[in-house]
Subunit: 120 residues, 2 copies
DNA sequence: ATAGGCTTTGAACCTAGGTTGAAGGTCAAG
DNA sequence: CTTGACCTTCAACCTAGGTTCAAAGCCTAT
C-alpha cells in the first residue's frame, strides 16, 4: 500500500507517517521501483496502536521502545503489565498534583469571596 | 536593585528575568548610566506572584494579560474570581481526562492479568 | 501532451518556557 | 593594572509531536 492509502485507512496524515519513520517509531518502508514507499497493511493496526497508546499517556519515545522490542520478539504479557503499571503510577501522580492545584484554587476563590463580603 | 540582586532575592535566574522582560511579562527596567537594568524592589513580589500563578496552572501568556491589566488599573476582586473559576474548570477537566486514562489503563491491566491466568 | 493528483527529500516553522554561550563592557578590590 | 564578579546583547539550543513548504519526480486520464 502507498503512504496515502495507509494514511486514509488509519486516519493520520502522510507527514505523520514519514515523521514516525524518521524517528524510528515505525520500521522503514520497502520501496517500489519508483522510490515510493510500499507498506504492508499491518501498518494500519500499528498506527492505531500508537494512537491508543498516546491516548493512554505514553510518549512516542516510550512507544518506540516497545515497538523496537516488538521487532525482535513481541512484548510479553508480564512486560506489558509492568509498563502499564508504571504508567498507571505516573498518571496517578499527575492526578494527585492536579488535585492539589484544584484545592489551592478553590481556597483562593473562597478567600476572595470572603474579602468581597467584608467590603460589602 | 541590579538584576542579580533581584534574582537572588526572588530565587530565579537572571536569564529568566530578562526572558520575562523580552516577553512583556514584566515591565522593561529603567537603566543606569552604565546600561545596567535598575529594578524596584517590588519586582521581587511580582516574580513570586508569577511562580505562584504558574504553580496553579496559569501560563505565562495568561499571567502577562493580568500583569498588563495591572499596569493600568489593578485587577478587581470579581475579575480575579472569574479568572480563577475558569482555571478551576480547566483543571477539573484535566483531572477528569486523567482519570479516564487511569481507568482505561486499569482495565487493560486487569484484562492482561486474566489472560495470563487463562494461559496458566 | 498536459493537467491534476500522487510521491520524494530536506529544511524550516510552531508552542512553552526557558537555558546556554559568545563576545564584549563595567566596576571594585588588591 | 589586573583579576574576578558583575552586567550587556544577540543568537542558538532544548523537549514533544508534529506541520508546512519548496522543488522535484511520477502516474493516469483525457
Amino acid at each position: 500500500m502507498k503512504i496515502g492509502d495507509i494514511a486514509r485507512a488509519a486516519g493520520v496524515t502522510t507527514s505523520r507517517i514519514r515523521f514516525y519513520e524518521r524517528r524510528g517509531i515505525i520500521a522503514p518502508a520497502a520501496r517500489g521501483a519508483n522510490g515510493y514507499r510500499d507498506y504492508p497493511a499491518d501498518l494500519i493496526a500499528i498506527l492505531r496502536f500508537i494512537e491508543q497508546a498516546q491516548g493512554l499517556g505514553f510518549s512516542l519515545k516510550e512507544i518506540a521502545s516497545v515497538e523496537v522490542a516488538g521487532g525482535a520478539h513481541p512484548i510479553s504479557c508480564d512486560e506489558a503489565i509492568r509498563l502499564l503499571s508504571r504508567k498507571l503510577d505516573s498518571v496517578a501522580a499527575l492526578i494527585a498534583e492536579a488535585e492539589g492545584r484544584k484545592r489551592r484554587i478553590e481556597a483562593l476563590i473562597a478567600e476572595l469571596r470572603e474579602r468581597r463580603q467584608d467590603a460589602a
